[in-house]
Symmetry: C2
Subunit: 668 residues, 2 copies
């Protein structure tokens, strides 16, 4: 396609002034990066990327990730110009309450936004997950020599120096290099400016050498030479066995006479005067938010090509599905909303009276689900054996075995979390990560984004609580249950036995979807619990339920995970001393708090005193137990010792718990 | 010094068998890494490092960090053999409750342990902080050409592949390279084995090239050739303008006939049989926990040299302090426990009726303290201007300006957190980091270790709450206050105005030391608050106090930060409607919970209903307000909009708050 230089410049300037004017109007935002990356964006959207603005979730589209999400006006400009459902009024409402153009791009809020970005490095690592998913999909559906390759697209992204300074990008780059993810093409907006000034003050590393060390293909280009950018991207497309980083030397605030190449262009509006000076400098005579028709036409042509490509692909896919023996697998992966009787199938693999660690039970559940749900893929941050997260009968994903459903993430919890998000966003796949619960701290920013995006990102956190044992306080979680529960929309399960573990897993992958879920599972064995006659397994899906009832109960004991068994035994003991105790198992407090107030009250009555038992921070349980409740747990860091020694040390045995309950109740 | 090969091997085997036998006895632990690193350890302790086991906090000692902390038995072995207060019985009690040899090395627990390690990558990054501190100390006290250089030591460390996979190590390596920290010498235990198997499956990056890209000096050595190791370390010592990485090819589980070079040697005891086979293979005839006297003698000789060096240094220092005009500065930095009237000095810079953002007030406080406390140094993760954390009148630390007290950490929150820990551990310095509160998630593992270590690590978290505004939910904290409060021993301040900000800062640097503190400060302006007549500034040091009293109060309103002003105004309004409201300002709940039950009750009476107001997650406030309390805040992710729009949207204005209180109280 031949695009005149004049039109190229006009298109780039259209992006620049949409960005300048929207930021000025909002009186807040980041104009400099969109101004610097405008030429790159023109190349990607007008010449390179395959997309259909009317079908933003088309499975075979190219993905685009703006990892430096503060440059959101670049993305909003492109979505608007390309014909996505982002109007000029939406652009004018940039950063206004309830607009679809918030300060940073948010998945689910704006058509065409593939992932939420802003926290630096997250987009970079999320894209690695998308590329992993694509590679897996290719392995399943593309057949060498076949006329039709149903999976045939790229993952493009732009990142800034901030993304590359964040450790998550090093982790993610290493994973991408390890697996030779050639579908991944990232452009580094190398503008030499950070918020605090020149990158010289804090970022003088050799980026080219670093990415070569990670196993990437690296090229360098003038970020304002559109022809050169295009050539670099085309060259990167041809590198199929390595991810590509194109280092594009750009000028932040390009065209601003007084702010170009300064941190002053980064995070503040140019202001009316500088906007005018920039108009003069770049020869832009359009009014704010007015775009020349030829610019719209340029991007409309790309969108038209995308729409045609999508139509052809859809026709080809339908035909292929009819002919190929892989058609059913495609339908199962990408087009099947629900597997029937999933929870039953998972419950069936749990054995009655099975005393086992919930991590082992979780492993059973995971494998039962893996048989029913072809999209289930995932792995661990170098703790697969400990986390019990291996899908049996499948290989480990590698360049040689891209069909493998198991993934070695390496000791890279943060990139794992973001990659899991990326796989979930890709579509079809139901991805999980795994590590010790304590190391959830290493991946919180990714968990938070999963919750903000409301996507089906799963994490198995094994070795929860001080019962991890001898590894000691550095590895023992005491605050993590609550720290995770504080993230809005993240569902955190601490199952007590096989039944709860099975129901937690099936809820997480299906009934509770799309939302991120975590499973906090034990290292040590726990018994299978007795339940009331009226219990049905779906009670677990209320998040909390009565596991032992007592007529005219005097107290309620709420417990989670390994402490439910303790609570049940303590309840027997206090009942022998005349205190009638109802016991509530609360495998997922977050879900319980989603229930009606009536249900909550029917389970944890506010009319009688309440005890909580959980081996972790205690105080927030006051939301159920009140100021005068009894909260048993651990409010200090743990200790290095065998778990049974710790059980005695923390007096988490029925006799001691019963004693404490009696002493407390006596004062009522 | 000439050490026979036989003695070298004996010494290395002594370490191996102490490790094997201690892990076997504990029936838990990691024998493989100590066995692989034993030769390196012999070289470091017998030939290289400067230390005095009888004075483990000697200021001019070499520091040693075991970043792969699971190899703790290596460190405990060395501390025992070298004559630190770690007895053979302590070794026998490895991983037992309340022993000084817990599963992972813990600072403050064991003499000679310089920092707590185990969570991978933390030690690596903490050492960067120590090296930063040393470079700063050198700039202050070492004079070119002087006979006596009071600061003259190295920071040694060993790290594993797990440390290098963690993103924090990339961040930290980049900082160290940026600043050319030649005092830093790390040895990479390149054993090619991870928990999940060969490093080939998840770590095939080119480590040498990566560290060269980070600006390091890199060498390679056979990790079992002690002479070669020594030569590499000596060469690294001579590289003064770059940190050094020595890649030592080792064999995990060295000497174990069936487990060497396998992940089976990593995290499980060898067992009695394999221990016996290893004894045979290595020709080790000693009983468990018995060490040949010549091995003790070898390390005793090194300790003796260290003791002599320390004595000479102490003499020289005393003389130098008497003669040098820097002597007083040395005393002020390293030997002064307390600055008199510090809090008064900080309060004095706050202006009466000053409506300002608490981040700006924090900047004032920081600068007031910087004048009194020469150890105060720190910086931000590329948000210095936003965080208001620059020390005026001082430069930015760099190779050219090592005297600078300001540090550009770059967009590397995690390494910043660990480096701040390292500076605190180094001694003398009072370091702080800074970023937006939301990005506390990026550095939680480092904050957690600061709390576990009980060190004076400070962090300024500006732009707290949804009032960050237009940047939107990716940047707005809602869960972070509580997520941080859940970390035991971390003191989190959310000051309401200048008085509280001043007192929070002075408490954090002095009265509340040593412990880590965070300051959550606003982007938007807040008014200076009226207080009761009986108020004294040190009331703030109770964590919570009555800021507006009411005789025979009907309710208590507990508020923090920007919501205290709202609470005070709402109290006036409800009082006009007959509800007598006491208002409690709670700048540091963690500290309030440290007070006596009597004090807590006198402030937040359990006899009257209670309201909490804080712009963040609400439910845990039930610990003060009870089940029937009213908790006002934000339990969802935020929204992108100007802060005043959000204030109205979340109804966080006195009128609306008063209405809600009245409606709630009417139902009592």
């Amino acid at each position: 396609m031949d695009i005149s230089n004049e039109l190229r410049q006009k298109a780039a300037n259209a992006i620049r002034f949409l960005s300048i004017d929207a930021v000025n109007k909002a009186n807040s935002g980041h104009p400099g990066a969109p101004m610097g990356m405008a030429d790159i964006a023109v190349v990607l959207w007008a010449e390179v990327m395959k997309f259909d603005p009317k079908a933003p979730t088309w499975q075979d589209r190219d993905r685009f990730i703006l990892s430096n999400g503060h440059a959101s006006m670049l993305l909003y400009s492109m979505l608007h110009l390309s014909g996505y459902e982002v109007s000029i009024d939406d652009i004018k409402n940039f950063r206004c309450l309830h607009s679809i153009t918030p300060g940073h791009p948010e998945y689910g809020m704006t058509p065409g936004v593939e992932t939420t970005t802003g926290p630096l490095g997250q987009g970079f690592a999320t894209g690695i997950g998308m590329a992993l998913a694509e590679r897996m999909a290719k392995a399943r559906f593309n057949q060498s020599g076949a006329d039709f390759q149903p999976v045939d697209h790229y993952i493009y992204g732009i990142c800034g120096d901030g993304c590359l300074m964040e450790g998550i990008s090093a982790e993610a780059a290493s994973i991408a290099g390890q697996h030779g993810l050639g579908e991944l093409i990232y452009i580094f907006d190398d503008n030499k400016i950070t918020i605090d000034g020149s990158t010289d003050i804090s970022f003088n590393e050799d980026v080219e050498k670093r990415f070569l060390a990670h196993g990437w293909d690296v090229s360098k280009v003038d970020g304002h030479d559109q022809a050169a950018i295009k050539a670099a991207v085309v060259a990167a497309q041809k590198v199929t066995d390595k991810p590509s980083l194109i280092m594009a030397r750009t000028h932040i605030g390009f065209g601003s006479p007084n702010k170009q190449d300064t941190s002053g262009a980064h995070g503040s509006p140019l202001g009316a005067d500088e906007a005018q000076l920039t108009r003069e400098k770049l020869g832009w005579s359009e009014e704010p938010f007015s775009i020349p028709s030829e610019v719209y036409e340029l991007f409309a042509a790309a969108a038209k090509r995308g729409a045609e490509a999508r139509e052809k692909w859809s026709t080809d896919l339908a035909q292929w599905k009819g002919q190929s023996d892989l058609g059913a697998a495609w339908t199962a992966l990408f087009e099947t909303e629900k597997v029937e009787n999933l929870s039953r199938a998972v419950l069936d693999v749990m054995e009655e009276n099975d005393t086992a660690a919930t991590r082992a039970l979780s492993g059973k559940a995971l494998n039962a689900i893996a048989q029913k749900l072809p999209g289930l893929v995932g792995g661990s941050a170098d703790l697969a054996g400990s986390n019990k997260t291996q899908i049996k009968g499948s290989e480990y994903f590698s360049q040689e075995a891209p069909q493998g459903r198991n993934i070695h993430f390496g000791v890279r919890e943060h990139a794992m979390g973001a990659a899991v998000n990326g796989m979930a966003l890709y579509g079809g796949f139901v991805p999980y990560g795994a590590t010790f619960l304590t190391f959830s701290d290493y991946m919180r920013p990714a968990l938070r984004l999963a919750a903000l995006m409301k996507i089906r990102s799963l994490t198995v956190f094994s070795h929860e609580s001080v019962y991890l044992g001898e590894d000691g306080p550095t590895h023992q979680s005491v605050e993590h249950n609550w720290a995770l529960r504080m993230i809005p929309g993240l569902y955190n399960w601490r199952p007590a036995d096989g039944t709860e573990t099975a129901m937690a897993w099936s809820y997480a992958v299906q009934e509770g979807s799309p939302a991120p879920h975590t499973l906090m599972v034990t290292r040590q064995g726990v018994p299978s619990l007795p339940r009331t006659e009226t219990f049905t397994a779906t009670d677990v899906w209320k998040g909390g339920y009565v596991i032992r009832d007592a007529e005219d109960a005097d107290i309620t004991i709420v417990a989670t995970g390994s402490e439910v068994d303790v609570a049940l035994n303590a309840a027997e003991q206090v009942q022998a001393n005349g205190i009638k105790a109802r016991v509530v198992s609360m495998p997922c407090l977050d879900l319980f708090l989603d229930q009606t107030k009536e249900y909550q009250e029917s389970v944890v009555s506010s009319a009688i005193p309440c005890v909580s038992i959980e081996l972790g921070r205690t105080q927030p349980w006051a939301m159920l137990t009140g100021r005068d409740g009894l909260n048993l747990g651990v409010d200090t860091f743990g200790e290095s010792a065998p778990w049974k020694v710790l059980r005695d040390f923390y007096e988490m045995v029925p006799e001691k718990v019963a004693e404490k309950i009696q002493a407390w109740f006596a004062k009522k």
